[in-house]
């Protein structure tokens, strides 16, 4: 596929429908409330500080969710499909309940699911013409992976002095947490699509991303290579203890 063809596909199919924009706004608003739950005052409840933090959270969460959706849409178009994001109401309400019950300690940031539609003209000649578990998993992974790459870009900007450390750190943490939450194997989250495609691939991906998140949170250490090594280790452990013993 030529670059011109890909750009044409982006122009034609990348846009959000009216319903998708509505869902996007609901997701961003609710997730901003979840994200800014602990930012409503220092000593006591302060609505002025709270609303200011909520507005900041809306911008940050909006960017993060858009990057995630864009990653899936771009990946889908690359493979000759069109991705559509839908709102997962249960996830949204579970997130709100969890943040209230734990007083902001658990911020469950996953409330969208993805559907894939075939673009017949763009799949002509493709091996395995229709959508299958492999293509759906690849498309689903596009979102979290772009979130991770975007967070790395943000961190690089922060280190280069282009972004302030306050903004950079917040966006960075938000993007990697969003990617990690979305990789849980709960339908209709992205992780479930990868899990149904291949348990070993899921073990590798989840191991890599979870180890990256844990390294950043607890050790303040940033390394894709070590994260991938941890992913490979998770893959090996999962293979030895579970997959090799599994019989249909």
């Amino acid at each position: 596929m030529s670059l011109r063809n890909y750009i044409d596909k982006l122009k034609r199919y990348f846009g959000f429908s009216r319903e998708e924009w509505l869902n996007f706004c609901i997701v961003v608003l609710c997730m901003s409330i979840i994200y800014s739950w602990t930012d409503w005052g220092v000593q006591r409840f302060d609505p002025v500080i709270g609303f200011r933090n909520l507005l900041t959270a809306i911008v940050f969460v909006g960017i993060t969710v858009f990057v995630h959706h864009a990653g899936q849409r771009m990946m889908a178009l690359l493979l000759g499909f069109r991705a559509e994001q839908r709102l997962w109401w249960h996830g949204l309400i579970i997130g709100l309940i969890l943040v209230m019950l734990t007083n902001g300690k658990i911020q469950f940031l996953a409330a969208t699911g993805m559907l894939v539609y075939l673009l017949p003209a763009h799949r002509i000649g493709a091996f395995r013409y229709g959508p299958n578990l492999t293509t759906v998993a690849k498309i689903a992974l596009g979102g979290p992976v772009l979130n991770i790459l975007f967070s790395a870009l943000i961190k690089s900007f922060e280190w280069a002095g282009i972004l302030s450390p306050e903004i950079g750190t917040k966006l960075f943490v938000l993007n990697i947490s969003f990617a990690a939450w979305n990789l849980l194997p709960i339908p209709p989250l992205d992780g479930s699509k990868v899990f149904f495609y291949s348990r070993l691939t899921y073990a590798f991906m989840f191991g890599s991303i979870a180890s990256y998140v844990l390294m950043v949170y607890f050790l303040n250490y940033y390394s894709y290579i070590i994260a991938l090594l941890f992913g490979a280790l998770t893959w090996l452990i999962f293979y030895i203890f579970f997959e090799s013993k599994w019989r249909p």
């Binding site: 839908r86 997962w88 109401w89 249960h90 309400i93 709100l96 309940i97 209230m100 019950l101 734990t102 007083n103 699911g113 993805m114 559907l115 339908p187 209709p188």
Partner: protein, 106 residues
């Protein structure tokens, strides 16, 4: 106990535990009522989706959750909890019936 046959009771018991835990973890009555309303919305949605098939197990689950929530939130007003939960269920159901929120499968 035959789990395949008695699964509605098992699910109801699980919801009883969830209700108790949720009520115990909510620090004050406002959080308790809000959480109760949100859970009611979820029940309303599930009720709409299962209205043609599994109403009885869902009713059992709702009642068990309510009982658990009342037991855990003994410090709160029982009538308010009941009203908020019913309001949540009815609003959730109404939003789906009027197609304001669409009930879609993924």
């Amino acid at each position: 106990m035959n789990v395949m046959f008695d699964w509605p009771e098992s699910v109801a018991f699980l919801f009883l535990i969830i209700g108790i835990v949720m009520a115990l973890f909510s620090g004050n009555v406002y959080i308790l009522y809000t959480v109760c309303f949100l859970v009611g919305l979820v029940f309303g949605r599930v009720w709409y989706r299962l209205r043609m098939s599994e109403c009885i197990p869902l009713f059992l689950a709702i009642m068990a959750f309510f009982l658990g929530f009342v037991l855990g939130g003994i410090f709160a007003n029982l009538r308010v909890i009941a009203l908020v939960l019913i309001a949540g269920i009815l609003i959730g159901y109404w939003l789906h019936e009027k197609k304001i929120i669409r009930s879609l499968e993924f």
